[in-house]
Every structure is written in C-alpha cells, then in structure tokens.
C-alpha cells in the first residue's frame, strides 16, 4: 500500500481499478505485466510495428515529390529499423522474459541503441541518435494511442492515471466509465481539473510520480476531498474509504435539496449563480445543478477539437445549441482565449519562448482579424435568439479594448448591410485577468457593460506563478493579499460605474472563498457546474452583513496563510463537513 499526497481538484472518493496512460514525450516508467498477459503484450508490439511501418510507407508515398533526398533517407532509416527482425526480437525477449510492458521494452531497447550511437566518436553516426529517438516515439505513439483509443470503449469502471491530460485526450473519454483521475502534473486550474469537475468525478493532480507507482489493473483510491491517492490499499483502508464515500454521497443528497431553491442569503440578498461551460451539452447540467445561466462559455474547444479552423456555422451551431437549452437565461460567450497551445503555436513561425506573455488570446485575435471576425459574426447572429453577452479576454489596456470594440462595430455594420438579425445592444464585457486591467478598472469600466474577473490568470500574472508547474504550484494562492486587493479594487470600480461585476475563476467554486466574495460585494458568481449546489448551500447559510465583516477582516490581514485559516474557520462554522 502506498499513500501519495497531491492536490485535490475535484471532490469525491472512488475506489477502482486503474488504467495508466503513458505519454510518449515523457520517460516511460518501468512497468511489468502479469505472466498471463505477455502474449497479448507481444501482439500489441507486433501491431505497433506493423502500424508504424504502414504509416511511414504511406508518408513516403504520399509525399514522395515534396521532399529532398535527405528527408527521404530519414523515412528509409525508419522503415529499415521498423522492419529489422533482430530489433523486434530483442524487444519481444524483454516482454516474454522480463515481463516488461511493450512500452517499457521499446523504450529500453531503443534508448540503448540511441545511447550507443550518441557516444560514437563519429558525428555522422552520433547524429543518428535523434532518428532512433524518433522511431521510439513513433512506436510509443502507436502503443499509447491504442491505449487511449481503449478509453473510448470501456467495459468496466476505471480511474485514469496519467502524466497530465490534454484536451484531445479527455475529449475521447468514455465518460460513463471513467470514475476518477490521478495525474503527475497539473494544478487546481489545469485542464485535467476543469474536466474532472465538469464530469463531477474525483481528481487529484500534482502527485509527482503516480504514473510510476501504479501499474495497470492496480486498485487505487482517489480522494478528491483530501487530495490523496492510495495505491493497492489494504482491507482496513478500503473499508475506511467506503464509509467516507458513503458519507459524501449522503451529503450529495442533502445538496440535491438546494438545487431547486434560490441562491439567497439569510438576510434576503439574491445572488446569481451561473455555470462555466466548455461544450454546448453542458448547458443542460447548468440547469440540473440549479444554475441561473451561463456566466462563462469557453469557446476554445471549437478550435482544438477539429483539425480545421471552425467555420462561422460551427460557431453558430454550438451557440444555438446552448441557447436552445438555457432559453432566455443569460449566456456570456468569451471570444477565443487560445495561446500557449497547439492552435497558435503550430501557426507561429518560431515557437514563443514565453507563450503566457506572448501572442495569445485577444492579442492573437487582433492580429488575426479574419478568425476573430468569424467568431464575432456567429456570436452576433446567435444574439438575435437569446440573452447573449460578448466578453473579450486578457485585456491589458484601453486601446486594446477599443480595437476589439471597433472590430465588433465593423462586423455589426456588415450584418446590418446584409440584413442579418442580431441584438444591437448586445452587452459587451471584458475579463479582468491581468494586474494591468485591475489597476485601470475605473477607466475600463466607463467603456464596457460588465466585468468578469478571471482569477486563474489574474493570480498567475500577479504572483508570477505558472499554475500548472507542480514545482511552484504551492505559491499559487487566491488568498494572497495582492490578489484580494486587486479583486477588491475591481469590484469598487464596477460599483462606482454601476456596471455588473462577476467572478468566473476557479476561486468561485472553492467553498472557502464564497463568504469572502459575497462580502467583497459580488452578486454574481460563475463556477464549475458540479459545485453549484455546494456553493448555493453556503450562500443560503450566510448573511451579507456577516460576509462584509469577514471581508473587512480578511483584507486587513498580511499573509495568505492567515487569510486562508480565517476563511476555513468561518467555513467550518457554516458547514460541518471536511474539505
């Protein structure tokens, strides 16, 4: 039995058998298979060799005319190695004799060959080590790709164990069978965390080396409440966790009762609880969880899911699907917020050295107007059919906001000319997610209809912490006085200008912060869907006057540890369950 501590990013407890996803870009852990499975493992290897050979042959044929002889040589090298019986025999031997997984056996043998090459005194040979690594990655991609494919058609419930999960991987999940997630890397706001919360399954991230400690088929406990993972638990531990899981489920039933009730404080102040969604189908869950609309529609999925750039119709269809579900409730659509990912990086002439400070989000859109206008047209067209608001992300200056609004005005004009219907008074808002925007919130407030504070990025940029880097993730704290001061300033600026302000970062779905946020003056929160009932329950148990008092006290403290412990104490008074 092994207990590993990480960060719990989605609540709940599950005891289940594990599926391990290796990543071809990371070191493949030493993994063995049970004796009875070596034959199947050899078969997987055979198939990977065949598929990889086929793939290279196809590339060679399809692109024969495009490339010079050097590149053709590379294909030839790959094919020669992939067809090398002696190579395959060595790998097969490791599987049958040492019981290595196919992935690990491939990695061991090819790394040996590459190492041998790279130590050669002759550069013509030492440089070929990179070819060998290429071949290794190609084989691993086939082996791992097939494992990923398996996650689409699961027969039993599993917990997915991986280094980190990408949107492409999670998009293919067979949701009905995936009961939990445990990853080496990631943080509270990483993609894995967001997906887990939207599926409502427990997840623990930043576990360091969970992929090395877990073998496929191991029993694993994922405790998303306490941020722990137990590998191969003993009987006592299993019983203990079964009890805990039952208590959580019971608490869940209690929460079911608040779903249909309004989010109103004990002293009668109405709070709007909206949902953050990424896919149109999630809109249904907004309603079933008792949400009042969509406060943040993330549209990046449209760009990442398909190979081609989404068309205006792709956008329009997704927005209309959402509108049909939420009817006349508000939907805030955020324009494309990509950067530091495949979509923009593949198009970049050279990879950006620091993509988080690079050409991302609104900056990317303002430099790629046709992509931007396509999306805006679709949002405007959808606005004729529902209560749609448009929101620009990552604004850092007035000029940027004005530019974005000019583009919006431009597209409106086009639609008018073409006599296509849209809401002329569509509310325009911005995300406040940079310290710059927070500090000029008063000026910005004069030119927009609403603010939505994106705390994930605001914290990252204020504290200079990469939120997905597990080595500094502990420095990432919403309770840092610098962050709370910025948030407070933004609320004040919005109130002064009499525009709406909401908070849509992960902070909104963390129970510790609810009373504080109400005390700071938020009347609207937009959050991860599964957390809506929980947060609603807290809202229904507090009075605004108590919240004001709490906020004043929190803002007077000097360190995030003091603030966090104050908030936790308060939460314990409000509710009596462990977080």
């Amino acid at each position: 039995m092994e207990i590993i501590k990480g960060i719990g990013v989605s609540p709940g407890v599950v005891i289940c058998s594990a599926v391990v996803l290796d990543a071809e870009d990371y070191r493949i852990p030493h993994r063995t298979v049970p004796p009875g499975e070596t034959r199947a493992e050899v078969q997987r290897l055979r198939k990977a060799f065949l598929d990889a050979t086929q793939e290279v042959s196809n590339l060679q044929v399809a692109q024969a005319e495009l490339w010079d002889s050097k590149i053709k040589d590379i294909f030839a090298v790959h094919l020669h190695f992939l067809r090398d019986r002696s190579l395959r025999r060595q790998i097969t031997d490791l599987i049958t004799k040492e019981k290595y997984s196919a992935e690990y056996a491939v990695s061991v043998i090819l790394k040996n060959v590459a190492r041998h090459f790279s130590q050669a005194p002759d550069v013509y040979i030492s440089e070929r080590a990179s070819d060998i690594y290429d071949i290794e990655r190609r084989l691993l991609r086939h082996l791992i790709g097939e494992r990923r494919e398996d996650l689409r058609h699961l027969a039993d419930s599993v917990v997915v164990v991986a280094h980190d999960l990408t949107p492409t991987e999670t998009a293919g999940f067979d949701q009905s069978h995936i009961k939990g997630i445990a990853t080496d890397a990631g943080g509270r706001t990483s993609h894995t965390a967001i997906v887990a919360r939207s599926l409502g399954i427990p997840a623990v991230v930043a576990l360091g080396d969970v992929t090395e400690l877990v073998n496929p088929g191991d029993t694993i406990i994922v405790d998303g409440n306490r941020g722990t993972v137990v590998v191969n638990p003993d009987q006592t531990t299993v019983e203990e966790y079964e009890k805990f899981a039952a208590a959580i489920i019971e608490h869940g039933h209690e929460l079911d009762e608040v779903v249909r009730l309004p989010a109103v404080t004990t002293d009668g102040v109405d709070i709007a609880l909206l949902g953050n969604i990424e896919f149109p189908y999630e809109a249904e869950m907004v309603l079933s969880k008792g949400g009042d609309g969509v406060g943040l529609y993330r549209t990046e999925f449209l760009y990442l899911a398909a190979a081609a750039e989404p068309t205006e119709e792709d956008h329009f269809r997704a927005y209309m699907d959402t509108i049909r579900t939420v009817e006349d409730r508000p939907i805030t659509i955020r324009t494309m917020d990509l950067g530091a990912d495949k979509f923009t990086q593949e198009k970049a002439p050279v990879p950006e050295r620091n993509p988080f400070l690079g050409l991302r989000s609104i900056r990317y859109c303002l430099q790629n107007l046709s992509i931007f206008k396509t999306q805006i047209r679709a949002i405007l067209r959808a606005s004729a059919h529902g209560n749609v608001k448009i929101m620009f992300p990552l604004i850092t200056s007035l000029m940027e906001l004005r530019q974005a609004k000019w583009v919006l005005a431009d597209v409106k004009e086009d639609l008018e000319e073409q006599q296509i219907a849209f809401d002329e008074n569509i509310p325009v808002g911005i995300m406040i997610e940079t310290p710059a925007a927070a500090l000029i919130a008063e000026e910005l407030a004069d030119e927009v209809d609403f603010f939505s504070i994106g705390t994930n990025d605001l914290i990252q940029y204020t504290l200079a912490v990469d939120r997905v880097n597990e080595r500094v993730a502990s420095l990432y704290s919403p309770a840092h006085p610098a962050v709370l001061n910025l948030v407070n300033q933004v609320v004040k600026a919005a109130n002064r200008a009499k525009i709406e302000v909401s908070l849509c970062g992960e902070m909104a779905s963390e129970p510790e912060y609810t009373a504080l946020l109400l005390g700071m003056g938020f009347k609207t929160l937009s959050l991860a869907l599964p957390m809506i009932p929980e947060i609603k329950k807290i809202i229904r148990s507090v009075s605004i006057s108590d919240c004001h008092r709490l906020a004043r006290k929190a803002l007077s403290l000097d360190t995030d540890t003091q603030i966090i412990s104050l908030l936790r104490q308060e939460l314990h008074k409000i509710l009596k369950i462990e977080y």
């Binding site: 090298v77 019986r85 060959v113 090459f117 050669a120 040979i125």
Partner: protein
Amino acid sequence: MQPSPTQDCNTAERTVEIRNPEGLHMRPAMQFVDCANLYRSKVTVWKDSQSVDGKSIMQVTTLIAIQGTQLTIRASGPDAEAAVAALAEVIESVNNETSD
C-alpha cells in the same frame, strides 16, 4: 532429407576496409543490409572480435564502422560466395562515393 553440406552450407569470407571519410554511415549501411537480405545465406560482419548480424540495420550500424575500420564479411549458406562478393562490392562503391 538434410541438405548436403557441400551444396548448401558453403562459407565465404572477405575483409574490406572502410575508406569513406563518413564511415559506414546510415545510407550505405542500409544499402549493405538490403543487399545482405537478398541472399539466403546467413551473413555476419566482424569488427575485431565483435560480430553482428549483417541483415540487421540496428546491428550493422551499432558496429560504428568509421573510416579506417577493417570489416570481415562472412557468409554461410547456399549462396555464400555470391553474397560476400556482392557485399564487398557495396562497400567498394561506398568507398568510391564522392562526399556530397
């Protein structure tokens, strides 16, 4: 019936020197292996006391035959003579290759 040794189990052997400044690098190694695979005989390549399977690209390249290396090509099987002759010719043509 066992094949008679005189017919089917000839052995042949020849020692060649790599004179190409780039050594037996990837492209000629592929030519060598391709050639070896055309024959039924078992082909081994010796460098000092190290021997490898002449039909495996992985093994031939791991010999790291740089300029000045002496390689002994040994074949055993029905077409051993022809195999060794052809393989020696591959090395010869590599040696004469003008570096591009």
